[in-house]
Symmetry: C2
Subunit: 139 residues, 2 copies
Amino acid sequence: MNVCVTTLLREKGFKVTPQRLAIYNVLAASKAHPSAEMIFHQLQPIYPTMSLATVYKTIEILKELGLIQVLNAGEDSFRYDADTSNHSHICCQRCGRVDDLHGIDSTEFVQQVVKATPYRITGQQFYFYGVCPECAAKE
Amino acid sequence: MNVCVTTLLREKGFKVTPQRLAIYNVLAASKAHPSAEMIFHQLQPIYPTMSLATVYKTIEILKELGLIQVLNAGEDSFRYDADTSNHSHICCQRCGRVDDLHGIDSTEFVQQVVKATPYRITGQQFYFYGVCPECAAKE
DNA sequence: GTGCATGCAAAATCTTTGCAGACAA
DNA sequence: TTGTCTGCAAAGATTTTGCATGCAC
């Protein structure tokens, strides 16, 4: 996995730095769709000199390389996902967590849109909102 | 339409002011899903003393009253839509416009998710991305 | 007249940019 | 060695808050 990132970075003329690998690794290892701030805090103990600016700059590069996708679930900040496969997300309106929704077939739905719109479609994002089981149990 | 807003505001203990009506009217009359800044600029000629803070405060109230929905299509700012019916949106990646997608049936898609997730689902937002006909023609 | 609303300015957030020293190749 | 990268600080952009004056009721 890191081999892939390393190769891709070099191919596109970017240097391979410990910070860049660390940031990608956090994203690849997490299912929580962390924001820049969350990545920064998670790396703080290991890279005490790490700066938020570096996180943002690296995210920009990872986006450009197609290694991550950007989520915008209605919060004030963006979240990032190293799983670039086509999948929906569901957000808990109580605790704010964002989970993946795998195994959903959206082809029929997307096909309807392709037929109905004059746009040339290049991508899509589906967000569901609700209450996660943990928060529901508390209520 | 304004009757409705007026009544709703009063019912919930909010005062009916020209600014609030004007802001709602901009949203109700527009299909462009304007941001706070866009609403502000559109009202500038008519209400030269209008402040951005008032736009934001009013949006907060309209949201609370269920008169508008908030869009988050991946830009730095939020957009607002006075059409609160269940519909998807499509965003042009060239010019940034956001259009409605009506007449799409998402029930089957949503049902799949309801069955697959342990969340109690309360809502959803579907964003499509692509190139609008105008921008496609220019390319 | 009372109390909420407006509008200004300042603050709070999130993100980007500029630049000097540091590091990958 | 060379050119890019890091990390700090400052700047930008969007949104929120505090407060004095003004307006709806």
